[in-house]
């Protein structure tokens, strides 16, 4: 479980997070919605310890990760997988080596044949069997994101973080990515946190929707409840989407 308590973060004079409280229950998918610049990525980077809070706590399975040193933090990070907005694949490595990277780093007990079997299985899970020898530059944006997901789940993490997984994708690929998130939850039973400003995808994959506005969570509830929210910013955000669709 991930629990965020009273999280505050400023960059210079600009306060991005102004006291965030959020709880992501095990085996569920929490989608954090919000406009551009609302602090979604900053919140997610705190959840995996890439940023340290100015105040507040980020508790992962009972451990406050904001107080951990580098080595302790790495031990906690092994519970996580993260899918980046632009996939963040290592461009000097092939797709196979990208997906195999976490195994080679953390599973020294595995033989190269076992690594190959696991990598092919994960690439198959995201529908990319047979692209292992290609380099990231040879793939489309959607394929890169799917390789990013295969890499994120290759160690069978308990928690997967998705940073804007559908941004910039066409509707068909967006639907594939949504399905992939649902499959990862069903097949692997992971706790997922998705940050997005794509409301359609959010309603499809979320068990819990949190709406971030000006550095604060102004609404946090299951999708059916959020749809009837009375908060003006949430209503405005939803009306733009549901009015259009």
């Amino acid at each position: 479980m991930i629990e965020v308590r009273g999280l505050r973060k400023s960059f210079g004079a600009h306060e991005v997070l102004k006291g965030i409280d959020l709880r992501c229950m095990p085996g569920t998918t929490t989608v954090i919605l919000g406009g551009s610049g609302s602090g979604k990525s900053v919140l997610m980077k705190h959840m995996i310890g890439l940023l340290r809070p100015d105040a507040g706590q980020v508790i992962v399975d009972g451990q406050d990760i904001s107080r951990l040193d580098g080595r302790e933090l790495n031990a906690v990070r092994r519970k996580f997988g993260m899918v980046f907005q632009m996939a963040a694949l290592f461009d000097s490595m092939t797709v196979f080596d990208n997906v195999a990277f976490p195994l080679r780093e953390h599973r020294k007990d595995l033989s190269e044949a076992q690594i190959r079997r696991i990598v092919e299985e994960k690439l198959g899970l995201v529908g990319l069997r047979g692209v292992g020898e290609k380099f990231p530059a040879e793939l489309s944006g959607g394929m890169r994101k799917r390789v990013g997901l295969a890499r994120a789940v290759v160690l069978d993490p308990k928690i997967v973080l998705y940073d804007e997984p559908t941004t910039g994708l066409d509707p068909i690929t967006t639907d594939n990515v949504d399905q992939m998130i649902l499959d990862a939850k069903r097949a692997l039973g992971v706790t997922s946190v998705v940050i997005s400003h794509d409301i359609g995808s959010a309603f499809k994959v979320a068990d819990q929707l949190a709406f971030l506005y000006e550095g604060r969570i102004v609404e946090c509830a299951p999708p059916a409840e959020v749809r009837h929210s009375t908060h003006p910013q949430v209503r405005e955000f939803l009306q733009m989407w549901f009015g259009r669709n």
Binding site: K45, I48, L50, G70, N74, A75, R77, R78, F80, G81, M82, F84, Q85, M86, A88, L89, F90, D91, F101, P102, E105, H106, L161
Partner: protein
Amino acid sequence: MRERKVRLRPGEPRPSHAQRKALARLGTALHAFFGTIGHALLRALADLGGITLLAIEVAALAVRPPYRLRNLLAACDAVGVGSIFVVVLTGFFTGAVFGMQLAIAFRLFDAESLAGATVALALTRELSPVLTGLMVTGRAGSAIATELGSMRVTEQIDALATMAVDPRQFLLVPRVLAGLLTGPILCMLFNVIGLLGSYLVAVHLQGISEAQFWSRIQTWVDLADVFGGMIKAAIFGGMITLIACYKGYNASGGAKGVGEATTEAVVLSSVLILVSDYFLTALMVPWWD
């Protein structure tokens, strides 16, 4: 800026509008001038502090497992092997032109037999480490800053961290160690090729006696000269890769930021090589003498 009222003495003429405007313009220019200098000074101090802290971190991480031999070899290949061609080329022509100039100049004093020894001393003590450093800066330093900067802005460095891999240990330690290790080897290569260039020109084109050329080198050049130059090259190699790592690792702002980081890495490394060379020479002169 708030305007201040100036009280005029009796009989003193009031400054004209044009004079007041010129004074205001001068004030603005001075403010901008000293502001720029102050800003640059603060930035240089921040860089110096950041590079020093990174050097300490890299040293601490280098002795802590996991030891990444494969990454170190790849970095040595990129920094060292990749710089061989440019070092050979510059080494040969530096030695050749130096041999030619000294042979001509020393002939005026009937001292042309000393040309070889002078070239050898200049190469081993100064030219090889400094020019090798500048060549490695241009070739490998810029490549490191660009590669790490690109990895930073495309979140590949964050991705390493999220996979519980220390990006500094994975990316920076091998590169800095590669600079420290390959710097002296490249410097030695520069020495040998430079001496060959000077030998070919001084002996075969300028007609200096071959026996005198080599015997004077044996007389005047000590192992201390060679080792001194190699120590300098190791320091320069470590410094170049450390600065490139610092600038690339901390790059931000997309492609423009990566370009700026690369330029800053090359300029800072080049300047620091020349400045630190003076102080290193001052330290080594008693040893050489």
